[in-house]
């Protein structure tokens, strides 16, 4: 009977294609918008992702998310180092500074100051130069997107020349010498990121009494991270987060205090509604058009459970195809544009599951309407002309 069900479905070419298009579009919208949302949210804590080594971040207790920097006293690094279970702790600076470009315009940059001795928390990949080049006088490493984009030199004829190793920048009236180009995870604000040493960053930064943004620490092997964080908090009066907790704090802040979730949720909901209305309605119409034949099959001895399986098979078949095409199109879109543009696209397996569940739900809603109609159908309908 599966054979009959599938032939009934694919034989009605127009409706079959209509249902698949509806489901493909729904799957595409749900997957793509969710993936963009996931991509953008990932960018909010890209600094933590790129920092790599530290597994504990110590900040002021009032800090609400990663960009909410409340400077600490430099001595806090020493206090953290003295806490039991801490293997090492390094100071880190993170702040926004103005870079003056060759054409006289200013560009806001994110400046990250790494521990002078260890350079822990540096960029995850170097395109040109090495991390240790930061030890050269006035040395800074610029991220490649910034070097090619917002920090690129604009020649008098309007041509843009990417910033290169050997070029100089003016950071808050201080000379900065480009010693390397790095590759980092795109940041949420999309401002250029400049790495330098902690001491140099504090020189670049406007003078304040306190300039330490974070203490980045590592627990000794075998230590329970949460226990170490608790001990740090007790010893210093600061707040210590594990890397995942700090990411979560940032993620939740953006969820709660920005309009992003509702905006993306609206687009995802639109995809769902499109799926239910187009695919659901077309599938229901397909069933209505075939009601006479379902009735005929019923009269000829097909039981309700078999008819139920036939309709579910039809729904799952179009659902599977629509989902595959939609996810495929979303992935292709992400692959094609993700590498070349600023588009944030991140498609973890969890999103694929969510998308699959949504499409399955659409199919089940569509099938439920049809199933109800067919189950209630009295086979005597076949004798009515």
């Amino acid at each position: 009977m599966n054979f009959i069900a599938l032939k009934m479905l694919v034989g009605d070419r127009a409706k079959y294609i209509g249902i698949i298009i509806g489901l493909t579009f729904a799957s595409l919208l749900i997957t793509q918008q969710s993936a963009i949302f996931a991509g953008i949210m990932t960018r909010t804590f890209s600094f933590l992702t790129d920092a790599g080594l530290p597994d504990i971040w110590v900040v002021d207790p009032q800090v609400k998310y990663i960009e909410d920097i409340k400077p600490l006293q430099d001595t806090q690094v020493l206090r953290v180092r003295g806490v039991q279970g801490v293997q090492w702790a390094v100071p880190m600076y993170k702040g926004s500074l103005q870079a003056r470009l060759l054409n006289g315009t200013f560009q806001t940059c994110v400046v990250i100051g790494l521990d002078d001795e260890t350079l822990i928390g540096g960029p995850p990949g170097m395109v040109e130069g090495t991390l240790s080049d930061l030890r050269r006088s006035d040395g800074v490493i610029v991220d490649i997107a910034g070097a090619r984009g917002k920090l690129a030199k604009v020649l008098p004829d309007g041509q843009r020349v990417p910033l290169r190793v050997g070029d100089t920048l003016e950071l808050n009236d201080h000379r900065a010498f480009v010693v390397g180009i790095c590759r980092i995870t795109q940041t949420f604000q999309a401002n250029p990121v400049i790495y330098t040493t902690y001491s140099r960053a504090t020189t670049f930064a406007p003078q304040q009494r306190k300039l330490l943004s974070f203490v980045a620490a590592k627990a000794k092997p075998g230590q329970d991270l949460n226990q170490v964080c608790m001990r740090i908090s007790q010893a210093t009066g600061l707040k210590a987060y594990t890397c995942d907790e700090f990411k979560k704090l940032t993620f939740i802040y953006f969820l709660k205090y920005t309009g992003m979730p509702i905006n993306f949720l609206t687009a995802v909901a639109l995809g769902f509604i499109v799926g239910v209305t187009i695919a659901g309605q077309t599938f229901y119409n397909f069933t209505l058009d075939n009601l006479r034949y379902f009735g005929t099959l019923k009269a000829m001895g097909t039981t309700n459970p078999v008819l139920l399986r036939m309709i579910l098979l039809q729904a799952l078949m179009v659902g599977g195809i629509g989902y595959g095409l939609g996810v495929g199109a979303a992935s292709a879109w992400g692959l094609l544009l993700g590498g070349r543009t600023q588009i944030a696209f991140r498609l973890p397996w969890q999103l694929l599951l969510i998308s699959a569940a949504s499409v399955l739900f659409i199919c089940l809603i569509s099938a439920a309407l049809s199933i109800r109609k067919v189950m209630k159908l009295e086979p005597a309908v076949v004798f009515r002309s």
Partner: protein, 251 residues
């Protein structure tokens, strides 16, 4: 042309027995009594025609006999199986094994080939697709189909050819009762004669029965008995008119 018996063999068993069958559609003032106490027997080896004006209850009666209509009054049993004593699912399975259907509008599934349409009752009863289609091919050969026609879709066939497919579908699983609703209504006279001839030749057997609902007086001659209905009642059961002397022209 197949010979048409004028007398029913009384020694045959009973295929269908209806006693006091009533059926009312709707409720209250809108209620319409379609059947008003039908008593009828159809014997094995017999082709019984139900005739009468529109709205007299023929289709309702055939629906009761075929077990496709729930909630009726009285008793109706087919080959000693009383539908009212059977669970709904058992009635459905009973229909699948024992009853063949021929419809006025053919009701062939347009996306299946002729052979696949004919194979449907076998697949419903659990036969694998390949075996079912092979068996369907054999029955289609009996109704005069060649290979090309077996692979044709219903919309590519003439009305007569479609009805031959429908007949093959009604016969393929060897049901003991075949019910036909206006099998010749959508056909011209000559094709109608051919279809009825085919049905008598292929469908009637010693332990089989045919119940045909029709308006078409041109095919009355193919009946063993004719039950006339009026206003929900059987008013007369009679023998058919004499067999015509000349055979219909075959095309």
């Amino acid at each position: 042309m197949t010979s048409i018996p004028q007398q029913v063999n009384d020694r045959n068993g009973v295929a269908v027995r209806c006693h006091g069958v009533t059926k009312t559609y709707g409720q209250g003032t809108a209620a319409v009594q379609a059947l008003r106490g039908i008593d009828l027997e159809v014997r094995t080896g017999e082709l019984l025609m139900l005739v009468g004006p529109s709205g007299c209850g023929k289709t309702t009666l055939i629906s009761v006999i075929a077990g496709v209509l729930g909630r009726y009054g009285g008793e109706c049993s087919v080959f000693e199986h009383d539908y009212k004593q059977m669970a709904k699912v058992d009635t459905t399975r009973f229909r699948g094994r024992n009853i063949g259907f021929v419809f006025q509008a053919f009701n062939l599934i347009p996306t299946l080939t002729s052979a696949e349409n004919v194979a449907a009752p076998l697949m419903i009863n659990g036969t694998k697709r390949r075996a079912a289609v092979n068996q369907a091919d054999e029955v289609l050969e009996k109704v005069g189909f060649d290979r090309r026609m077996m692979l044709s879709f219903p919309q590519d066939l003439s009305g007569g050819q479609q009805q031959r497919v429908a007949i093959a579908r009604a016969l393929v699983h060897n049901p003991r009762l075949i019910v036909c609703d206006g099998p010749t209504s959508a056909l011209d006279g000559e094709t109608g004669q051919l279809v009825m001839e085919l049905m008598r030749r292929l469908a009637l057997g010693k332990d089989r029965a045919l119940v045909v609902v029709t308006h078409d007086a041109r095919i009355f001659q193919f009946a063993d008995r004719i039950a006339r209905m009026e206003d929900g009642r059987i008013t007369q059961v009679e023998n058919p008119p004499p067999q015509p002397t000349s055979s219909p022209t075959t095309s």
